[in-house]
Amino acid sequence: MFKFVKGPLESIDGVGIYPLISLLIFFIFFVALFWWVITAKKDYINQVSNLPLDKEDVSDNSNPLQN
């Protein structure tokens, strides 16, 4: 796979670092994504997922943690 990435770009100095950077971007992106999702609080998830449904109770907008 590596040679495909390098192929026509070999003339760029230090092109070997590109695939490494790509891999890192990927790895960090998905680790961070799953970290966000896993640390999300259950109450919050329940509340947000109910947003499209018209619930009678009007939410109190003063505290971001409660809605």
Partner: protein, 731 residues
Amino acid sequence: MELQQFYYDNKIVKKFIIATMFWGLIGMSVGLLLASMFLFPTITDGIPWLSFGRLRPLHTNAVIFAFVGNAIFAGVYYSSQRLLKARMWSDFLSNFNFWGWQAIIIAAAITLPMGFTSSKEYAELEWPIDIAITLVWVAFGANLIGTMIKRRQRHLYVAIWFYLATFVTVAVLHIINNIEIPVSAFKSYSVYSGVQDALVQWWYGHNAVAFFLTTPFLGLMYYFVPKAANRPVYSYRLSIVHFWSLIFIYIWAGPHHLLYTSLPDWAQNLGVAFSIMLLFPSWGGMINGLLTLRGAWDKVRVDPVLKFMVVAITGYGMATFEGPMLSLKNVNAIAHFSDWIIAHVHVGALAWNGFLTFGMLYWMVPRLFKTKLWSTKLANVHFWIGTLGIIMYALPMYVAGFVQASMWKQFNPDGTLTYGNFLETVTEIMPMYWMRAIGGSLYIVGAIVMLYNIIKTARQGSAVEDELAEAAALTRVTPKRIKGEAYHSWLERRPVKLTIFATIAILIGGAAQIIPSLLVDDYVPVISSVKPYTPLELEGRDIYIREGCVSCHSQMVRPFRSEVERYGEYSKAGEYRYDFPFLWGSKRTGPDLHRIGQKYSDNWHLNHMYDPRSTSAGSIMPAYQWLIKDKLDKSDTQTKMRAMQTLGVPYSDAEVANAEKWMLAQGTKIEENLYSDPDFASTYEADKKYASENNEEFIEMRNREIVALIAYLQRLGTDIKAKDLQEISTN
């Protein structure tokens, strides 16, 4: 806690709903007309603006941007106001969005049949319309973001993120793909050529599917499916993963449209790898949509809205499973250029986009008119006719694709092609084209039934144009994260930041693919024998573009034994150096034309254009009789050549100055060649005599459009000969 009263703008939603149904029926009907042209290729003979090549972009643009586009706006304007607990930011922008978009569609419906096209798929519209699209799109985005800023709901629901990503990405794609040099009011040249143009175009084309046909509809799915089922989405956590991974990965997958072409391997393989990965976020979304109905499947049995949505999501699942499979090089080798692709896109368009739109309309309209759906029975009839229509459309096209691709590749034991005549492979699949037309008709009948039902529903109710709502005002809190607040929930109350992050996510993939190809000089190996087109060939090429020949003919011989045997030497990247824009095509209803040059006589081409069935019995190509009669417009030739000069085509100033002479000389040579056919000589002389006897103006053959087209066709693929191939630099 003080409650504020405000009004939802239902009027704008209603307008977009009307436009959706109107343009939907038009777009589908043009599709049906095109489908019938496969069966009766002569039905629009002699009418240039009704010829297949000009109508095909009208069909695709009408369905994508007019039908689906208006459906997106209707759904987004309805759901955003309710999710953000606010009226749209600006009534002026809402209306500018609506009327601007309809004006663009009308402009497209006029200019495309007239032959004004840039020929880049789903971006055919010429430069003035491109600018208008940019303005209207920015108005839409500004209105959406403005509404977010004055919202009364702290957190942005996942649907809103999808809308945001749609706005940002479509803007980026549209602008980068449509950078072009205008030569007249409705003619321009892409600034990219050949391989680079192909890469930019399919980065755009693929992501138009992603960010116009997919992400906005996923947003709509996340709003309307929970609404219709009256339960929250199956997993909100999954929707977060779905959103970020989808937009991050989608943008890389464009090159899978160019497998086995002259695009460098590294870009092809990058596209394949990301396309395979794309299966996971896509199916994550599909599963999330379907599982939202957990415990509510009994409702699906009785509620037509849910029926439509279930088939839509299933269609999405099928199309997004098929997509990654089609990206595998071995599968792509069979499917590409065949009707399999037509089946694939119609599963997406008819099931996913069409059915989700229908479900959404059946849900919204009764609510907008404070009534019940006029007839549930008719909605069910629509559902079943539509579903049958999709099956009747898609299945025959899959069969047609397999059969034809297999025939293209079939060899005799002695090494010759079994079906050496391309037409044999077309005749074989004619029954499939019949079934496709029937399937398409069923689908349209269903849509008409819906139109009737919706009109009846609207009539029995009363429209509430400004709907009263109330919600607490949003008090200001610190822009910083507060203690105990998770990162993503903080991000969700920062709309501008969320937009910026989404933009970064999509730019990474775009930059990694596009920038190297634009910066590295030796990206495309130079072939010294490849020379610019002569002015007459350039004009001929513009006729080829105008008539939409690219709709049915590729110019890309892939490096397969079967294709080299059928068409000639496989295509090299360096051969397209002066092709602004590229014309590789994406479908072979007729044979590839990259090596057509010098294969047939000039007379053959003339006769073939006049009546394709006179040279190729059973051909389904339309006739192009006007090309043989009409005078070639040479008034812009020098402007065109100068535009080419700015793009780096090595025309000398003397060549530009002598363009007229040069064209006349080449045209005269072709006219002389045509005289070798005694039939031509006698008819042509008779015409000439008749004109002079009746004092009519007579256009010499050398000055007619057909001569330019012949010049171009005879040049195609002739710059390299086998002996030159050794000289190609291999870097």
